[in-house]
Symmetry: C2
Subunit: 475 residues, 2 copies
């Protein structure tokens, strides 16, 4: 078993050769990982089920499919080359304020990245998940810290990734460590140039603090979850309470509520609340308990639900035994007074109905959020309050949904999975979708550099055929 120093040294040694690989080789490496993982589904899915208790079908098979699709979509983005943001200024002695030289700018990989795997997506946000895929895609070696929740799956996935890469990329472009101490060592190591994390607020913040306190601080991209409020307008509640109740229960119980986009709060008009709560209770009546990921998460969940239940402002609407869904309720006035105790992420199948008595109170609740991955509005475009809600939520969240549910984050070009703190430590970036590549890149400009010494993407004639802006215009 290699130690953390060997992994770090190998990543550092690999960085230049890895960064210099042609795009088709890096894309081929990503596709090779995807093919390898797909071929090993029969081995990996049972292992994942054994360690996480998540159901093989549809969940784990679908998650593995998502993971390999993600690798292939990022491979396409690497070939497309738009992510390089190539920008070329031709020399111009008449350019205002002193003329300009030949300046050519592109994004280059930052160097080795430490990636902390999550517990709740043993494929999609773990060893070969989105962070690893994005870093490898742009040419950054990855030092992967495995999640202790699925050690055997992590080990096997890491071996498969390493084997898939062996022919195409320098040794050291992918390595892994297992202990928290090794993870912290990697965050502090001068050879590591960026970090990525998916997990709890406490865990993400501690690592961000380590990264920021280095003699040479590095960007640290922690995605730390969210309460993901849902706002139901009066007209929506009047028109389709049952449909909304059904969708809401489906969303907050998906994956036993262990998603960072789980809706943790739904705001409904007080007048419609009794009927809505009854519809929720009916919907939940048929739901059985799904096991949580592991004993540690089950314990935290039980403690979290217990604290909420005992809060004087909280009503218990449906009391789930063990990990069967628990539904809580409170009034908006109390929510606004005690939001520090009530607007807390509770990882597992629970959520809270908040009754608001006026649109003014609804907006006050919406404006009480400061950093969320998502917020959802269920309404009608004719609602006067909808325009205000959408604008106000834009200020506070990474993704605004309309008559839709936040769980199930599609891997696409336009997806944004991020948000202001405490949703993430890096509000400028997403950890899902093709834009996630930008996290592990930084710009370099070449001034007056001869053709032969320029990277291929910047040369005259555009030999790589990448999208470019020349003299400020797309070419």
């Amino acid at each position: 078993m290699v130690n953390v120093e060997q992994v770090l040294a190998a990543a550092h040694d690999a960085r230049s050769a890895f960064a210099a690989l042609p795009p088709e080789v890096r894309a081929g490496a990503l596709r090779g990982i995807a093919d390898t993982l797909d071929a090993a589904a029969g081995e990996l899915v049972p292992l994942a089920h054994h360690e996480t208790r998540l159901p093989p079908t549809p969940r784990l098979h679908a998650e593995l499919e998502r993971t390999t699709f993600q690798l292939r979509l990022l491979a396409e983005a690497v070939i497309d080359g738009g992510y390089l943001e190539v920008t070329i200024d031709r020399p111009d002695t008449c350019w205002p304020a002193g003329g300009r030289a030949d300046v050519r700018r592109m994004l280059v990989p930052v160097g080795p990245v430490v990636v902390f795997a999550a517990s709740n997506f043993p494929f999609a946000f773990s060893v070969a998940g989105g962070d690893t895929a994005a870093a490898l895609a742009v040419g950054c070696p990855v030092v992967l810290k495995t999640n202790p929740g699925h050690p055997l799956l992590s080990e096997r996935t890491a071996e498969l990734v390493a084997a898939a890469l062996a022919d195409d990329v320098p040794a050291g472009a992918f390595g892994w460590v297992r202990s928290e101490a090794d993870g912290r060592t990697a965050v502090r190591d001068p050879r590591v140039r960026a970090g990525a994390f998916t997990g709890s607020l406490a865990g993400g913040r501690a690592l961000y603090d380590l990264a920021a306190a280095r003699p040479d601080p590095i960007p640290f991209h922690a995605e730390m979850g969210s309460v993901n409020p849902v706002f139901v307008t009066s007209s929506a509640a009047a028109e389709r309470a049952e449909g909304i109740a059904e969708g809401y229960v489906g969303s907050f119980t998906l994956g036993a509520g262990q998603f960072c986009t789980k809706p943790g709060l739904v705001f409904v008009p007080a007048a419609a609340a009794p009927a809505f709560e009854a519809a929720l209770a009916a919907e939940l009546a048929g739901r059985v308990a799904a096991p949580l990921l592991n004993a540690g998460i089950a314990e935290s969940y039980a403690a979290g639900v217990d604290t909420l239940r005992q809060h004087p402002a909280v009503r218990v609407l449906v009391s789930g035994v063990d990990s069967a869904p628990t539904l809580l309720g409170c009034d908006a006035a109390d929510f606004l007074t005690a939001r520090g105790s009530l607007a807390v992420e509770c990882f597992g199948p629970t959520s809270m109905v908040v009754r608001y008595s006026s649109e003014r109170e609804l907006l006050a609740c919406a404006r009480s959020f400061t950093g969320e991955l998502t917020a959802s509005v269920h309404g009608s475009p004719a609602d006067d309050v909808a325009q205000v809600l959408v604008a106000d939520l834009t200020d506070r969240v990474g993704r605004v949904l309309w008559n839709d549910w936040p769980t199930g984050v599609a891997v696409t070009y336009a997806m944004h999975h991020g948000g202001p703190y405490p949703a993430t430590t890096a509000p400028e970036h997403t950890s899902v979708g093709t834009a996630s590549l930008r996290r592990f890149l930084r710009p370099v400009a070449y001034q007056n550099v001869p053709q032969a010494l320029l990277p291929a993407a910047l040369r005259d004639g555009n030999p790589l055929g990448v999208p470019r802006r020349v003299d400020g215009r797309a070419r």
Copy 2:
């Protein structure tokens, strides 16, 4: 005189209305500032000269011209709209891993930004400089902390900016504070969502640490200067030592060496060094002392030069009296041993010639840098070492120059003025050029949101005519 709380409250109150302004209004506001400052040149340039001792012609007039050009170029970028990075996924039930909804992503302003003005560019990096222009361009209110080096000019410029904005934008979109304490208060204030700074390593790092230590950390973009090494290959030294010596002296004495891109070190082959040093001495013989910006900078400069002169490895090649240029020298072997004491930014008209005895030693010196704004290579494309040098420097700096000098950073589309720490605290971003807008933006995705509730840039039919990517392709 308004206090910091009033400025912060006004910026916070202005943020939504300011962000919602149509692009042509924000662009018009930037052009209004530019026109106002141009019209006030007769008043501002003498004030700047009085406070900074920089020559009115060509320097201060040229710098004001650069500043107003920067405002107008960013106004053009606002109208172009490419900076919004609009990306649209049309709904597709067949999209792998579960289908996808209608998802539309764009960048939105982060909110109020605190900007710390620099001492050395009283126009271009001060009250109405690049940071202010970029933040206002994208719709972020600015809380400007003036630089104590030019208080009267700062006050007058700020009044002119505020007056120019008065008709077009909400009150509070631009405000200013004067004391260090007020600047720190702003960095810590929850209403402030990002920071920008140009100045010393110690100052920038202290503010970055404050921003990172907040209960809710915010991005802090500090540009903290650099040593900007220059590497001269054997063939270049043999072919054109005098031309290089002339260019080098011009660059390191420009603005009395008070530029963050001042070349502080030049690496020359030992064999050619005596002739090169003689050429430098001849070039410097005719140079007179230019006054430094203020007493504090003069004192720091004197102390810094003194420390370098007294270093046992350092030779004094030209000893400048007061602030006349001082040229130092050392050997690469000593440089590599004592680089912590020798590769230090000394703000003022001094630089050091480092004699290297082999290409191996040259590359070792190049590889000893970790984070610089620029590095320059003077060579011939036929040099075997040139390819290696350019690749290695790409790993370490923000801008690589070939047979050119780093001072005089053009304001263009492709310019990158940034670099890994300690050049900046935010290696992903530039503080000069149109790409500087990206610092004060974050993405938001809208999922399934009806046309009437979408921002104009995301609506069907592209009413703003901005560049967009639809289903992964440029449209």
